[in-house]
């Protein structure tokens, strides 16, 4: 690759699409590969070779976000509408070449991306992340060129401020203001850090961006560096993201080779380079001061703020820490203008947000929607409704730090303000849909367990407070809780929120407090009636045989691992509660619905 020495040169090398080429895009993010994308690709390459079809370009892209249908393959025949297939196993891959390409027959399982608006994910699933020319072809690095050539650092900051972009990592702090304060802190050395320590269980938008469009992050970091006066950037990334790391490394070396990183970028006097730092998978290292400590080789634990990293960050120098998704939004803001960005979304939450939709929903995956989209639109229009048409109960947003959105708020616009108002938060954008089979107490316990595991142990409220909170919650799910315990949960939860040292500790009680607020009846059922309405909490569960439904087939007794079911053939059976393991085998075995949970 040749060094690109000016913006004009950058524009000149933008490749024009070849009108004769068929393009087949195979989603090869970690998820696609795990689902068999590589095997599908091999089959297609082989088939094309066998059939001597020479005008196919196979593009290994990142993930398009349709986890429910991996592997995905997009077929783009010149002059025709591109067709996206899901669940492409080796047979289907063969058929894509044999039927779609050669006979023009469309196959089943055609997918469509509907009701989404892709800014951060604009290139994911479209370009080959390991080929810088693909990125350049889609106006890659032109935003950086424009910034260096036309704007002063102050104007860059003003543009980001005007766009209304807010941090996508959780807190929603205005990105422009963060850059401004870092810019204003006097120092000859400053740093840009990209926080790629994605840790929320179930959230993987950052991984997806890095695997599918790494250059957009590199470009945005260079823009940020120009704005604040930094010449060095770090990407702090989980070591558990090997593919993202590999693709970043490829992207870094290509960008350096082209003169888009390193000294005198695009022939200008601006120099900026980026290196990677690996995290060991501690959730708390997503908190910026912990992250900085970790980069410095210290224990990954937070320090009291202020001073904020913008004043005293990495190695004591002014540092701006921004999240992957935030960075991915930056180049389009400069290419299409801050007014364009600000025209999308709600009054105070501009642009789009990527959500990781999971749980009891038909189409799980990554989606990017305009801020202000309602939950109903997300779950039903994009997510295809709840699984097995079960009754919707709630959505957990904001990961372990978040809270619940109930049916009452299904039509509420999703943005930073509204989520905070109802006691949850945007977080990094995890969205877990729950139905009647989910016990909200147990659910809160699951997240609290995670937070207790991930607490750095530094401050008292988080280290001991959350532990006590979990112990009380465990008492409740074990059927040992009292109504007084529910009071204590609230009291202790609010104390932790009010006193913990960092965001992790302060938000850890959210799932508990939020479920207590919206599902108090479930808590009361646990402590008053000693019953789990969703039949999830094993210690509160009993299996009983309904006398008039049991026909005495003995199937349950034979299946029972603890041999606690007795009864004559053709006679009514009985469960000895003292021996029952509550494994549910009998419940699943009985064909006559004679076994019930109470």
């Amino acid at each position: 690759m040749d060094r690109i020495n000016s913006v004009a040169q950058l524009k000149a090398i933008q490749a024009k699409p070849d009108s004769n080429q068929i393009i087949i895009r195979v989603g090869m993010g970690t998820c696609g590969i795990a689902a068999g994308a590589k095997e599908a690709l091999d089959v297609m390459v082989e088939e094309a070779k066998r059939l001597k079809i020479n005008n196919i370009t196979f593009v290994k892209t990142g993930c398009i976000g349709m986890c429910f249908a991996e592997p995905t393959v997009e077929v783009a025949i010149p002059g025709q509408k591109a067709v996206l297939y899901g669940n492409v196993d080796q047979d289907k891959a063969r058929e894509i070449i044999n039927r779609h390409l050669t006979k023009g027959e469309l196959l089943d399982d055609i997918l469509e991306i509907k009701n989404q608006y892709r800014i951060a994910l604009r290139n994911c699933g479209v370009i080959d992340p390991e080929n810088i020319n693909d990125y350049i072809a889609r106006d890659g690095y032109q935003a950086l060129g424009k910034v260096i050539q036309e704007l002063t650092p102050e104007q860059v900051i003003e543009t980001v401020k005007l766009s209304g972009l807010r941090g996508r990592g959780g807190g929603g702090f205005p990105t422009g203001i963060k850059w401004q304060s870092t810019h204003n802190s006097p120092s000859d050395i400053k740093y840009i850090i990209c926080n790629a320590d994605e840790g929320d269980p179930g959230a993987f938008m950052d991984r997806s961006v890095l695997e599918g469009d790494p250059h957009s992050v590199l470009e945005a970091m260079a823009i940020a560096g120009y704005a604040i006066g930094a010449h060095t950037g770090y990407i702090y990334i989980r070591a558990e993201y090997p593919l993202a790391i590999a693709r970043l490394e490829v992207a870094l070396s290509q960008a350096r080779e082209c003169g888009l990183l390193g000294n005198n970028i695009l022939g200008s006097s601006f120099s900026f380079d980026i290196s990677l730092r690996y995290g060991a998978g501690a959730f708390v290292c997503g908190e910026e001061t912990s992250l900085i400590n970790s980069i410095q080789g210290s224990r990954g634990e937070p320090t009291n703020k202020p001073p904020y990293p913008a004043e005293k960050g990495l190695w004591g120098k002014p540092t701006s820490v921004n999240n992957v998704e935030t960075f991915a939004n930056i180049p389009p803001i400069f290419l299409r203008g801050p007014e364009w960005f600000a025209s999308i979304g709600t009054e105070k939450s501009k642009g789009t947000k990527v959500f990781a939709l999971a749980g009891s929903v038909n189409r799980v995956g990554l989606i990017e929607v305009v801020m202000g989209t309602t939950l109903r639109q997300i779950i039903y229009d994009i997510g295809g409704g709840t699984k097995d048409n079960k009754k919707f109960k709630a959505v957990q947003t904001g990961g372990p730090s978040g809270g619940c959105i109930t049916e009452a708020h299904l039509d509420m616009p999703i943005d930073y303000e509204h989520l905070i108002k109802i006691g949850t938060m945007m977080g990094s954008g995890g969205m877990i849909v729950m139905n009647d089979d989910d016990c909200m107490v147990n659910f809160a316990k699951f997240y609290l367990e995670f937070m207790c595991e991930e607490s750095c142990g530094k401050c008292t409220p988080c280290r001991i407070g959350n532990k006590r909170l979990l112990e009380i919650l465990t008492k409740v799910t074990d059927g040992q809780g009292t109504e007084k315990d529910l009071e204590t949960l609230k009291e202790l939860g609010h104390y932790i929120k009010d006193t913990a040292l960092c965001g992790l500790g302060q938000t850890a009680p959210n799932p508990v407090l939020s479920t207590l607020e919206y599902f108090e009846d479930e808590y009361l059922a646990h402590v008053r009636d000693k019953k789990c309405p969703s039949h999830v909490c094993v210690n509160l569960l009993e299996y009983h045989i309904v006398e008039d439904k049991c026909i005495g087939c003995t199937a349950c007794a034979r299946a029972c691992p603890s041999q606690c079911i007795t009864g004559e053939v053709k006679g009514t059976h009985m469960i000895d509660q003292s021996k029952c393991l509550k494994c549910g085998t009998c419940f699943a075995t009985c064909k006559f619905k004679a076994i019930v949970r109470r």
């Binding site: 009291n304 207790c452 750095c456 142990g457 001991i464 006590r468 913990a500």
Partner: protein, 582 residues
Amino acid sequence: MDVNIKINDVELGVPSGYTVLEAAHLAKINIPSLCHMKLKDMNVTNHVASCRVCMVEVEGKRNLAPACSTVVSEGMVIRTNTDRAMKARRTSVELLLSDHPSDCLVCAKNQKCDLQKIAADLGIRGQLHYQGEKSKYPKDLSSKSIIRDPEKCILCRRCETMCNEVQTCGILSAVDRGFKTVVKPTFGLPLAETMCTFCGQCVAVCPTGALTEANNVNEVWDAIHNPNKYVVVQTAPAVRVALGEEFGLEAGSNVTGKMVTALRNLGFKKVFDTDFAADLTIVEEASEFVHRLQQGGKLPMLTSCCPAWINFLEYQFPDLLDNPSTCKSPHEMLGAVIKTYYAHKMNIAPEQIVVVSVMPCVAKKYEASRSELSQNQVQNVDYVLTTRELAIMINETGMDFSGLDDGEFDSPLGESTGVALIFGATGGVMEAALRTAYEWLTGDVLENLEMTELRGFKGIREASIPINGEEVKIAIANGLGNARKLLEDIRKGKSDYALIEVMACPGGCIGGAGQPYHHGDSEIIKKRAQALYREDREMVKRKSHKNEDVLKLYHDFLGEFYGEKAHELLHTHYTNKRKTEY
């Protein structure tokens, strides 16, 4: 520049940069705090803001703010005693107690514990609101100096600050996460297997019983009550200006006479003064220095009185083992003299004599067990007690300490000069050595004895002394982190000092880990230093080489200064003890 703030409706101006905690102090409002520690004059600050006890309401802030690490800003409105703040403080303490053993009555820190005090101050009585699993960890009894009891640790991280930032030893660090977080030595090793110098600064600052000294009180009682043993005691200079604090006396009170009487009452056969040995040390050390200066020996010469410092050197700078003076530390010298000269004089078998040293130090406990500090397999010193342990013994016997008459140290090893006293403060050994070496090198009488430029608590101090027309450069370091800087210069060949004094503890022995707990108040340490200098000023003899008992000892027994016999009894050697490669 002053910043105008309002605390609990009191308006006041406070210097900018002050924390809310400091500002409240100015307004005479007490905000309880636990993890926070600031030793002002020693440049030591622990503000990890981890305990969340000092929480206050600051107008405009969504959450409560820790007073210890929130810096005041213009117009800040602070409330310390709202329901919300008080409940939060109480909850933090109750949560700490919910994961803390309830054995206060038999804890080594009973009545000296900051957590106990704060719980009492906040009126926490009866049953705790929060209860649950408690952390379980074995005690670390591996070392002769320090006992670790992690179950009592509240993770204030003061020990880490001392160990890593001040002393640069890097032994203690928090490991693991969440409720399982615990402060442990390097690689989870027992303390004795690490490169811990046993300076004990972790013990000095630990607010609870998680780090305490290894207690030798019972062994000493057993020895005293053993009819076959002849138990003698010696006390270090820094002990006499601190012991009184344990009996409610003002910091800096000199209680030498009462201490001597108390020791005699405890049943020690003889009460000797380590100050005598300090003079002895100076005579030897000054001789060695003069020898090195005149014979082109290894320079800079480093003082060798401080056992933690010697450990540090053997662990971390084994390439510089030729630099320190070979002189034993004063109490070891006295032990050696007692078990030879004095034993012979009194016609007692050395094995029968038990030498107990009362020291401001916990590293001396380890030092006493060093095999090289012995003669014919008899250790020079048998037991080392800290100032605190001595107070425990005195209390146990029910003595009314402040009502005791003044006693006198026993002779012949009892006389001392003023300069021996100031051994207890950083810079004291240097001043003592110079008072003697100067006169020996120049043949002049040193008139201006008080070398004030050598005094104070600054981490590294240096001076240039004109001797025979040449400027002899000397330096003083207190705190091992400061010593490290000087040592690294020596290593690089960049050091032009002739003599360097090092004391491991900030402030020197008066700030030693065996002293009454200062609870973060560095004024106490300063007052102890002032008491030593005051005492020196009041002494008639203020130069070690004028000590008659010392001179008699050489005349009767040791022979020449720095001679053969002196080498055998009063000098030691050092070995490479590096345990970890970096």
